[in-house]
Symmetry: C2
Subunit: 336 residues, 2 copies
């Protein structure tokens, strides 16, 4: 049978409460007591019962990842980073997909809280700026951390300097000799859309290249939307010599559309993406892209959240670094 806190107390010759204090790192315990307790814990292989602890302590030791239709890879990465942080603190991770429609979303949020009573929540785009979700969290005073929110003011979580990352990527393209560079945007609900577009425009301006709205088209972050957008761009005369898609899935779509038109990448058109998902390496030619440390972002966001759960004043918006990856899908434009 599993040992209880009472057994530990007895073995250590102290009261239950003292054991509890030690286990929860509460103050007011003499070092000698602490050691005695720790020895007993070790000896009896004691582990607190999560249910009992939750019931008495009025918290669930659960952190929820609330999401809505993100890219599978992105989700997987964030999740694995969160998992790491959660395990270290003996928290449990609950995955909470919510619907897209307003009412459905509200119902799903409610269900998550009724079922699991998470002590805190991590939000990923596009939910980081979702009215329904934020209202619910604020109304119920639930601590939450955001990954790459559009609006970072007064938030805790993780951010990357996406605008700067795109500027650097674009600068690389321009250094190769490209002047006519197209861009496929992400969905406006993602902060990514605006940051990446801004980076694109900033880089053009800095290089003294005029911004041409005809070269910027909307995408939905999906492979299919990349194909559609590329079809349009590849028919332009003169054709752009490079296409920067706001994520890798769309960039993969661009490569496919180019192939279908008998164009080769990068000879006829250079392509680059963003994120460095596995497809970037697996596709031919391998994608030039920006690596975003997604798992690490999940881990850091969770750490900030756990800090805030313990102390409502704690937690901050932290930053992570990107990495530029120039691979096979880009080269200097060919003279025609």
């Amino acid at each position: 049978m599993r040992s209880r806190i009472e057994d530990v107390a007895e073995a250590a010759g102290v009261s239950m409460k003292t054991v509890s204090r030690v286990l929860n790192h509460e103050p007011n315990v003499r070092e000698e007591m602490r050691q005695r307790v720790m020895r007993a814990v070790e000896k009896l292989q004691y582990r607190p019962n999560l249910s009992a602890r939750s019931l008495a302590g009025q918290r669930s030791y659960v952190v929820a990842l609330i999401y809505n239709n993100p890219s599978r890879n992105y989700l997987m990465e964030v999740q694995s980073g969160m998992l790491e942080a959660c395990r270290a603190s003996h928290y449990n991770l609950v995955l909470a997909p919510v619907g897209a429609q307003k009412q459905r979303k509200a119902d799903d949020m409610k269900a998550v809280f009724e079922n699991f009573s998470p002590d805190g929540v991590v939000l990923i785009p596009p939910l980081t700026d979702d009215e329904v979700v934020l209202e619910y969290l604020e109304a119920h005073d639930v601590p939450f951390a955001c990954i790459a929110p559009k609006q970072a003011q007064d938030r805790i979580g993780v951010n990357m300097e996406e605008t700067r990352a795109v500027q650097e990527l674009m600068a690389g393209l321009i250094a190769l000799g490209h002047r006519r560079i197209a861009h496929i945007k992400g969905p406006p609900a993602h902060g990514a859309c605006q940051w990446r577009l801004k980076g694109y425009r900033d880089a053009l301006r800095k290089a003294g290249i005029e911004y041409d709205p005809a070269l910027v088209v909307a995408g939905e972050f999906s492979f299919e939307s990349g194909i559609e957008a590329a079809k349009h761009l590849l028919d332009l005369k003169p054709r752009p010599t490079a296409i920067f898609a706001a994520n890798d899935d769309m960039a993969a779509g661009v490569i496919r559309a180019a192939c279908e038109r008998g164009l080769s990448v990068p000879e006829d058109v250079s392509v680059c993406g963003f994120d460095d998902t596995p497809i970037a390496r697996h596709i031919y030619p391998a994608l030039t892209t920006v690596r975003q440390p997604t798992a690490e972002m999940g881990r850091l966001a969770t750490l900030q959240l756990l800090d805030r759960i313990r102390n409502p004043e704690a937690g901050a918006m932290v930053h992570v670094e990107h990495t530029l990856l120039f691979r096979e899908s880009t080269q200097p434009p060919t003279r025609r």
Copy 2:
């Protein structure tokens, strides 16, 4: 404040225990009582407190997915299917990655049970046939369900007729005119390796084609291992006219290796994979493959597990159907 079972009992004018009976679908409750209770539950928006329920009932309402280094996509799909089944039964899903080394794996298993006390476990390859894991589960009498185990005897969970699926895929290749078909195997620890190899050999035999061991090489299910294997196969003289890789990631590796050698797919060599992961559609040319309903398998395995948790006699090994997908990466062999 959240209402408790006591409040419901009072509102319905019955005892707590009667409410508990209704909520847990226990027998021995008059229909009239049941309705009265349900109305009160509705009115008070009552939801049971998970922690209290777990503590009193000695179960966690947690199901763990135990895995070790599977393909990201596979994991994601299984997980989303499990999530669906779990939510429907108000169970919680815990993700439990475990180490590869023997000791580490045992420690990780122990930690999962100490932290979350799952009521049951779902296993995916290659852990479905792992000695350490199975011993632990059996020793502790933990209900578990398996997805695609090598050894299905006396197990519950889900299986697909992989051998037949591969036979059909191969028959398609043979019908296109291929005779010299190579195969890249999966890692032996996966049942998939043996089933798929068997399908390959059976199909050859049925078509009266002699089995040539030189055409069968080992892979590790990774993109990189696909490249390595393909390099070897593409150097063979005469070159195989088609390559069947045991999963999509390796097939993508084959396509990359072919491209790097200046060979085109499917003109110079046809390629097919297995699983229908997203990359199969995103790569150029799109992969001929076999669709495995992975999410559905996760869902069904979980349902079997939940049945067994409720009743140690219940649960079975169920089967799912595959789908053949002939896409761009295969065509009749070119006369040279």
